[in-house]
């Protein structure tokens, strides 16, 4: 038996005990990907869930310097 691409797969485990849902399900978008940076906080873009349940939050992985998520 084969799974059809894009179908709902199993829930995976990733580091730290978090579970990773197979790709193809919920998604999100970033409204913009560039900004004129300053010595201060400046918005790059909004993070908008797509096909996601209510209450989702956003986090950065590996914490790159000079970027952050708020309200997420």
């Amino acid at each position: 038996m084969m799974f059809i691409g894009g179908g709902v797969g199993g829930v995976g485990q990733i580091g730290g005990g978090a579970r990773l849902v197979a790709s193809g399900a919920p998604d999100f978008s970033l409204s913009n990907s560039a900004a004129t940076t300053i010595w201060g906080a400046v918005s790059i873009g909004d993070l908008a869930p797509i096909n996601a349940p209510a209450g989702v939050t956003f986090r950065l992985v590996n914490e790159p310097a000079g970027l952050a998520v708020v309200n997420g």
Binding site: G40, F58, G66, V70
Partner: protein
């Protein structure tokens, strides 16, 4: 090349076998002539240090034998050549030789110490070079010997002076054969408190000669023509000599001096060139292999260092390489360096190559090739080397014996440290004792520490400044540097492995930026002045900055600045200062300014230096520098040196970081300890990280700060605060709550009524009310409005509250914090600091840039379900900073 003391009480040079005294009454064959009844002489080219290393009320041992290793040279077989300090208690001894001569427990002279008070005083200024000679010889005949001790000095390029002690040496001393004439060059074994060779004492071309020096029978003294011939002094005879050629001519009877005792003979038994610590320790004399070896003491290493040579040029036919005052070239491997020198008659051509230091492996692209210019006795080569540590070699390709080497030349990054005592105190050497925490340099560290002697030119009378230049090499534990400097370069090394760093302390205590910008007078010179080498008699218009620019060849790769309280409040003055620096460091006009704004000039908020205005001036300075301005982490100078003691509200501190190490000077129960590395150590590490960060923004140097705050949900019992960094406490300590909440729009703040925790990412603080909901409006948060230390808040004694520091929030990788700054252009935050950051209803999730950067960065974003665990989607996005 020559060798100098870089760290006191660390290292000296020891021959494989001691040189023991003979029974001088016994005839021997010397210089090819049998039946000679002769003594001995020793000589070296000597450069005495200037202030502050040569000022004590004492005498300094140069070379000899210290039988009991205590530095007092009073053992039964001891002998030593000393030099009186320039403030020695016996005025007649000042800067003149002294000899202690003992063999078989018999003093050679009438007194234990013989002072040569008729010898003209030397100059201790770190510049003048002397040939210093001491001898005990037969001034009579082989049949009727007369034994006299003598000393002489010749200023290279100057005059000669000598003294012969009229009273003959004691006969029992002459015949005793147990005294030791040399077991050490320099004296570094004793610890503090004993007579030791001072820092910056340097020797080159040391000789021990069996036999008698050419003697002037008319004046009964060592022949001044011979002394001048060695040192190329004024009035020198036409024929100049090295030790070898002088002795050869003496033995051959061809010296031709007037009134010369014709039958004196000698043998150059031991000659160590001391050209450097690798090739200058072999004996080139006739006494057999008896190489010198560095001997380390007091658990220290690396106390000796190669320096530019100073023996007169006529000693060699080799080309010369003119060594710069600072053998460090900035520019981070991207700026050309021009080396130059001279060559002697008979040299047909010259090639140069750069090799990895201490090896014969050429730097790729810099193997043997013709020098750039060659003619008229001078040559030059211009090369752009990568960062690293190298040796420069030059040779005549048609006679490769004509060669020269400049060793240990560094190419890397030059950091210029600006400010006053707060900045200076992190690295400077005025705070004795040094390296009280016994910090070792990490493997791979390569660097230099440069500290101009502001006190020299700043004193009541002019003394030519003699900068302290100290090499830093991984694995060493330098005793002569502040541990703040050592931890700074260790931290740099973490991010820049093998990339040399030069730390140049430009800052001077008690000075204000406005005075520098106006080129005001400080002591006997000015702050800015012209670029050049200060003169011997006066500065000649050269200023402090001009001197640094000259030494560093106009290169400063990064300017680091924290200036409290002397940062100017006037934009024009701040700009004038920056422009004045640029006008002198002309090779690097785009060097970044890394500004470290002080959060608290002192632990107490009432202190004038902890005001918003003082921080705002620093932030303004960043903004005014445009693209060159980099806002560094705040200056968390929390633990001070305790002065004045006790600290009080009215007298809240010195602004100087703690640097002492123990209970006596500041341990438990005292407020001046850095034993937990929270004072100078913390600042040193933090600046080292920040300097690296200035060039690589993926290295994190900022600490926690309130980027934004919002209520988690409509219940308003939880506030989430984004800090822009993963943070942590130290040593597993619980969070010492330093978050403050206002419910009246910033009029008043308190840090009660809630708990604090970090979320799983450690980038967010979560404040949970222990009461009801917070109001929907007029709620603001702030961080560290006042530190948990006295006198305004908490315990008076910092040492008793030191562990509270562990509970503060630190950047995940560095022991530094960072928080709100005034709302000014360039401010990383939006808070006006006085009233914190507004807590808002949770809005749309946004991705923010939290600092200035350009180019592209990849960021991986996870969308997480409401359970806080399930990752619904993870994507890596490319973000462009403009």
């Amino acid at each position: 090349m020559a060798i100098r003391i870089a760290t006191i009480s660390a290292t000296d040079l020891r021959p494989a076998s001691n040189i023991t005294k003979r029974n001088y009454a016994t005839a021997m064959t010397v210089g090819g002539t049998a039946g000679k009844v002769v003594g001995w002489w020793q000589a070296a080219f000597v450069r005495l240090p200037g202030s502050p290393n040569f000022i004590n009320n004492t005498v300094y041992p140069l070379w000899g034998h210290d039988g009991n290793n205590a530095g007092n040279f009073n053992g039964g077989q001891d002998g030593v050549v000393w030099i009186g300090g320039d403030s020695a208690s016996q005025g007649a001894l000042r800067l003149r030789p002294r000899r202690t001569a003992r063999s078989g427990n018999q003093n050679g002279y009438a007194a234990a110490n013989q002072d040569f008070t008729s010898v003209s005083a030397l100059t201790a200024n770190g510049t003048d070079v002397y040939l210093l000679v001491y001898g005990e010889q037969n001034t009579g005949t082989d049949a009727s010997p007369v034994w006299q001790g003598w000393a002489a000095r010749v200023l290279v390029g100057g005059g000669v002076s000598s003294q012969v002690i009229a009273t003959a040496l004691a006969s029992l001393y002459v015949t005793s054969a147990t005294g030791v004439l040399l077991s050490q060059i320099f004296n570094s074994r004793p610890a503090a408190g004993a007579a030791r060779s001072p820092v910056n004492l340097a020797f080159e071309n040391f000789a021990h000669v069996n036999g008698d020096f050419p003697w002037d029978t008319a004046n009964n003294r060592p022949h001044h023509d011979a002394l001048l011939a060695l040192a190329n002094g004024t009035g020198a005879p036409a024929t100049l000599h090295s030790y070898a050629s002088l002795i050869a001519a003496q033995n051959a009877g061809t010296l031709g001096y007037a009134n010369l005792r014709g039958d004196a003979r000698a043998d150059l038994s031991f000659h160590w060139t001391l050209a450097n610590l690798t090739t200058g320790l072999a004996n080139s004399g006739n006494g057999g292999a008896n190489a010198l070896s560095p001997a380390n003491w007091n658990s220290l290493t690396g106390g000796l260092e190669d320096v530019a040579g100073f023996t007169p040029a006529h000693w060699t036919t080799n080309p010369t390489i003119t060594e710069p005052v600072v053998k460090f070239h900035g520019g981070r491997g991207a700026l050309p360096y021009t080396a130059s020198g001279t060559y002697q008659a008979g040299t047909t051509a010259l090639q140069r190559r750069w090799v990895l230091a201490g090896t014969s492996a050429p730097v790729p692209g810099f193997d043997w090739a013709a020098v750039g210019t060659f003619g008229g006795g001078t040559w030059s080569t211009t090369d752009t080397l990568p960062f690293g540590v190298f040796d420069l070699q030059v040779r005549d390709p048609n006679d490769v014996s004509r060669a020269a080497t400049m060793s240990d030349f560094l190419v890397g990054t030059i950091a210029l440290m600006h400010g006053q005592s707060g900045m200076a105190g992190v690295t400077e050497n005025a705070n004795a004792p040094k390296n009280v925490l016994n910090i070792a340099l990490s493997a791979g560290v390569q660097g230099l520490y440069l500290e101009g002697s502001s006190s020299d030119a700043g004193g009541a009378s002019y003394i030519k400044p003699t900068p302290l230049i100290t090499r830093m090499v991984g694995g060493q534990t330098p005793a002569g540097l502040a541990h703040g400097a050592l931890l700074m370069i260790n931290e740099w090394q973490v991010h820049n492995p093998g990339h040399p760093l030069l730390i140049a302390k430009l800052a001077i205590g008690g000075t204000a930026m406005a005075d520098w910008a106006a080129n005001g007078t400080i002591g006997q010179w000015t702050y800015l002045g012209t670029v050049g080498e200060p003169g011997t008699a006066n500065a000649g218009g050269v200023g402090r900055v001009g001197h640094y620019a000259w030494m560093l060849r106009g290169i400063a790769d990064v300017h680091a600045i924290m200036w409290t309280p002397g940062m100017s409040s006037v934009e024009a003055t701040r700009t004038a200062y920056a422009d004045a620096i640029d006008a002198r460091f002309t090779v690097t006009p785009a060097a970044p300014w890394l500004v470290l704004p002080p959060w608290r000039g002192h632990r107490s908020s009432p202190d004038s230096s902890s005001t918003v205005a003082k921080r705002a001036e620093h932030v303004s300075f960043v903004a005014e520098r445009g693209a060159r301005g980099i806002l560094g982490p705040y200056w968390p100078d929390i633990v001070m040196d305790g002065n004045p003691i006790p600290a009080s509200t009215a007298n809240p501190g010195s602004l100087h970081c703690a640097f002492h190490s123990n209970a006596t000077l500041g341990g438990s129960g005292s407020s001046v300890s850095d034993q937990n590395q929270v004072g100078q150590a913390r600042l040193g590490r933090g600046i080292g990280r920040s300097l690296a960060w200035a060039y690589n923004r993926t290295i994190k140097a900022h600490g926690p700060r309130v980027v934004a705050a919002w209520f988690r949900d409509g219940a308003r019992t939880v506030i989430e605060i984004e800090m822009g960094r993963a943070v942590r406490t130290l040593n597993g300590a619980g969070i010492n709550n330093q978050f403050w909440i206002s419910t009246d729009d910033g009029a008043t703040f308190a840090k009660t009524g809630f708990t604090v925790a970090l979320d799983a990412s450690a980038t967010r603080a979560v404040l949970t009310s222990t009461g009801g909901a917070w109001p929907a409006s007029n709620v603001r948060v702030d961080y560290a409005r006042a530190w948990p230390f006295g006198p305004a808040d908490g315990d008076l004694d910092e040492a008793l509250t030191e562990r509270k520091l562990d509970g503060l929030l630190y950047d995940d990788q560095v022991h530094r914090g960072g928080t709100n700054l005034a709302a000014l252009p360039g401010n990383p935050l939006t808070s006006a600091n006085g009233n914190g950051v507004a807590v808002t209803a949770r809005g749309t999730a946004k991705l923010l840039a939290t600092e200035r950067w350009t180019g592209t960065r990849n960021v991986t974003v996870r969308m997480i379900a409401a359970d806080g665990v399930t990752v619904l989607r993870e994507k890596t996005l490319v973000i462009t900073g403009i």
